[in-house]
Subunit: 249 residues, 2 copies
Amino acid sequence: MEIQVIGVQGLPLIRKGDDLPALICDRVTFEDGDILTIASSVYSKAKGFTRDLATITPSADAVRIAAKTKEDPRFVQAVLDSSSDILLEHPFILSEVPSGHIGVRAGVDHSNIEDGRIIILPPDPMGAAAEIRDAIQRITKKDVRVIITDTCGRSFRRGQTGIAIGWAGMTAINDYRGDTDLFGHVLEITEEAVVDEIAAFANFLMGESHQGVPAVVFRNCRVWNGHDAVYFTPEEDIVRAALKKSKKD
Amino acid sequence: MEIQVIGVQGLPLIRKGDDLPALICDRVTFEDGDILTIASSVYSKAKGFTRDLATITPSADAVRIAAKTKEDPRFVQAVLDSSSDILLEHPFILSEVPSGHIGVRAGVDHSNIEDGRIIILPPDPMGAAAEIRDAIQRITKKDVRVIITDTCGRSFRRGQTGIAIGWAGMTAINDYRGDTDLFGHVLEITEEAVVDEIAAFANFLMGESHQGVPAVVFRNCRVWNGHDAVYFTPEEDIVRAALKKSKKD
């Protein structure tokens, strides 16, 4: 069992209007079953999901939060605009975005873009993954699975890791419930968040700095069955409840 | 840039006293710089870090918590014995172990072991990684990096992923602070938890069921610089504080 993980080299700086699937297909000979991971930042740049700080007027809420987080109130306004629920206001904004993902600063980023501009997350990341998958199928006739990744902090541990915000051609979670272990016991609670495990290692190849590659191909990965319910409901989410409660106190 | 990720096939069921590094070296031709990931469960089994439930007498605390989590009070006692701080008692025990890792049920597991026995995490996972690294160097004369992995749930997202609990020959976190992005901006806050990104994808190959492979080799990975401070101090840890506060209420 060997998997090849290949960074897509030589992509130009992506600009609004660029045909990202075509640019990637020029540089990769895809095989059926490949998993293509793409950084959400380059998808957003190609699609124009960026904003000019100069055009943003901060609300009173943004000014109030910015005073606590010591950030540009216009940047904070962009975070609020991208958020459907605020879990924490400081020392950093932690919020839910409409797709269900909960992350720091709603994934709004001022790295790897010109001064004065910011990148926002794709508003429909599942649709984005399906769109890339369809485009690659049209260009190459190959059946490629796609994951849109972002980097995000996590509880209890320092540092960011890659996570999946959108996927197509696969389920997010490999559901082992009902399968048996080495000793024949039925596994009762095991659900493996496979898309996040792949996105994490994709991020290791992507890197964060100027050496980065924004797309990574995984070849020879197994197929799995499961479901897409990767986001807790608010009622199920113990940490979210504790944070919202502590925000009110 | 291509990385090969190789599952170590054909390992026997590991029992107490087995020479795990020798068994792995029989099945892998290592190269300098390889990263070997090993599931903590097989390391624990080789070293005898398992317990017999019949020998455990639950305390009043264990009986009280077990009534809420609907688990065997002896299992709960084993979780308490492995924990240095309890963050949450139910619907599942979330606790810190002495190494600093915070996880569900302190990593105590009754899967992939005989009925009536449980596997506990290696008490010194950093030492475990160093020991495996040294043994492989003695056997093969190759400079191999080692990560001990566990599976663990996370906040805000359903499903478990692989994480690193011990590592040797590398730092946990790639510290990009001071590096520049594609537009020359200095990156101020970016720290990438590289060992966890590698452990996550290792877990994808390991699987959870009877098809599992407990060791995975990563070949041709880049080297990075950083630090090992992967665990927040209690003062820095916002989620921990909110959970402990909500536990008291």
